[in-house]
């Protein structure tokens, strides 16, 4: 059964192979579909569009030269470093505020107006005002990533810690739990799946918004290079960066799912 559940999470297509009996056909289907898509893309670009437009063969040929350049790795370091830093700060702040909101109604009421308003707002709309305040600097990217992660983590943590079972609280009280025991000993662990889901969402938004800030504020990084390479008519190199971003995003996603299973094995959605 363990293999079953992990297969559902990592490879959605494999779901159909289970119990339907025709394993081979549905394993081969994505490979065929992928090959067909790539061939259509290749032929279409060769036939109708100028030579600089990215196509699969060009992207593959561009991978070694792009990855050999120091610029690529400094871009990767800058963008992913900022995202990691932002996720760390945003999650920590979000968990603290979220627990307080979840456990104390008054704190929830106090913050809810702003957290709701900001949560509804597409955060990309905050980029111009942040650029105006901190300038065309990497700090703008960090601030936006922190906000992108803070909001979903605060909201999910508040939801998770608010909805803890009364039985846990009663047992805690019986054993003389104090407020901080209830917050960090009972509420926080039982809200783990919620918190991880919030971090997961924040991660995805953080990646997107980090790239958005890089482009709008001309901050060096992977997102900036996607656009500059494209403007230099080096479309294939631009797509190599996109590929790297996609691998990072997909990798983060599957890592977070594993992380959730490891942290909260009792909880399967």
């Amino acid at each position: 059964m363990a293999t079953y559940s992990s297969r559902i999470e990592t490879a959605p297509a494999a779901r159909w192979s289970w119990g339907s009996g025709i394993v081979t056909r549905e394993r081969v289907a994505p490979l065929v579909a992928g090959a067909v898509l790539l061939i259509i893309w290749e032929i279409w670009v060769r036939a109708t569009l100028p030579d600089f437009v990215a196509r699969p063969s060009g992207i593959i040929l561009a991978i070694p030269s792009t990855m050999a350049s120091g610029e690529f790795w400094s871009d990767v370091g800058a963008t992913l470093g900022a995202i990691m830093e932002g996720v760390a700060i945003g999650s920590a702040a979000g968990i603290l505020v979220g627990v307080a909101m979840g456990r104390v109604r008054e704190i929830d009421w106090f913050f809810s107006t702003y957290i709701r308003a900001l949560y509804a707002l597409p955060l990309i709309a905050l980029v111009p005002i942040v650029i105006l305040w901190v300038g065309y600097q990497p700090a703008a990217r960090l601030i936006i990533v922190v906000i992108s992660v803070f909001l979903p983590v605060a909201v999910t943590t508040a939801d998770g810690t608010r909805a803890i079972s009364k039985d846990y609280l009663d047992v805690g009280k019986m054993f003389g739990a104090r407020t901080h025991n209830v917050w960090f000993g009972i509420a926080l662990p039982s809200a783990t799946p919620f918190i991880v889901a919030g971090i997961e969402l924040g991660f995805a938004r953080g990646i997107t918004n980090a790239i958005a800030v890089e482009i709008l504020a001309s901050v060096n990084g992977m997102g900036m290079s996607v656009f500059t390479k494209s403007n230099e008519l080096n479309e294939n190199a631009s797509l190599v960066y996109v590929l790297a971003l996609a691998i990072f995003a997909v990798g983060v996603r599957s890592l977070m799912i594993r992380f959730r299973h490891w942290l909260a094995p009792w909880y399967h959605r």
Partner: protein, 271 residues
């Protein structure tokens, strides 16, 4: 009686006070948070100069921009893109979602790529889209839809897949045709999933609209926002940001109303 009161701990009395006066405390919390923020904004605004204008200046600025200025024309442009995006999300998301759930081979073939496309930050695809399809309305719609379609599509697929086997069996026993099966079993069952996808799409289409307008030759409200950054006018930028935030809150509120309506419908349908 009085001895009883004295024996109660401070915590018990506090707890009772919080329950008895919950309504007033709640109101006070909302009021306090708004007063504190606006007060801080006003005070800071007077000390930071042009980089951070006070709340009152921002509001009068917003009023000016609404009366005569680029904001309302920009809103019309953005509103059109938003409407088209949302419509495509609903129609295409539900159709493709149902197809993926019903035709297993297509699902097996394309699902990995749908998930990869969903995880990839769509902004990074903007240069590629613009080279392939240009900077016109069609490209904007494509970018906007790529950002906002997946929750509804995936939600509908998962919903249709979770239809209990028995429902389909009963329909088969009573000799339902494919058309009847869809009308009587699949569509009613999937409706709540579709509605909750639509709720998410209402919020996400806004993100898609802004991204498409920011990164494919600025246009609409996003262009108005960027204009303020270029001329370093914080009153302008703050006014437009608050304007967008107000619209976002209203749209998300509409989405929540739809969901609340849906939950009620679900209760009556089940119970």
């Amino acid at each position: 009686m009085t001895t009883d009161r004295r024996e109660e701990s401070f915590e018990t009395r506090l707890a009772r006070f919080r329950i008895v006066n919950a309504w007033w405390i709640r109101l006070a919390c909302y009021a306090l948070s708004i007063v504190l923020l606006l007060g801080a904004w006003q005070a800071l605004g007077h000390s930071f100069g042009i980089l951070f204008v006070p709340f009152t200046t921002t509001m009068s600025r917003l009023w000016e921009m609404l009366q005569s200025g680029p904001l309302l024309p920009g809103l019309v442009v953005s509103g059109k893109l938003y409407g088209v995006t949302l419509a495509i999300n609903i129609v295409l998301g539900v159709t493709v979602g149902l197809l993926l759930a019903r035709i297993k081979l297509i699902a097996a073939a394309f699902e990995p790529y749908i998930y990869i496309l969903y995880a990839t930050p769509t902004i990074s695809l903007v240069p590629f889209v613009s080279v392939m399809f240009g900077f016109e309305f069609g490209s904007r719609v494509l970018v906007s839809v790529l950002i906002s379609i997946f929750p509804i599509l995936i939600g509908v697929t998962e919903g249709a897949r979770s239809i209990p086997r028995q429902h389909l069996d009963v329909a088969a026993i009573f000799g339902s045709s494919e058309g009847q099966l869809w009308r009587d079993v699949i569509v009613p069952y999937v409706m709540p999933y579709a509605m909750s996808g639509i709720k998410q799409s209402i919020a996400l289409s806004m993100v898609g609209t802004l991204v498409a307008e920011f990164f494919l030759n600025p246009d609409g409200v996003a262009a108005v926002l960027l204009q303020g950054t270029t001329i370093v006018d914080s009153g302008w930028v703050l006014a437009v940001t608050i304007f967008i935030c107000a619209i976002a809150v209203v749209l998300v509120g509409i989405g929540e109303l739809i969901e609340r309506y849906l939950v009620r419908w679900r209760h009556t349908a089940v119970g």
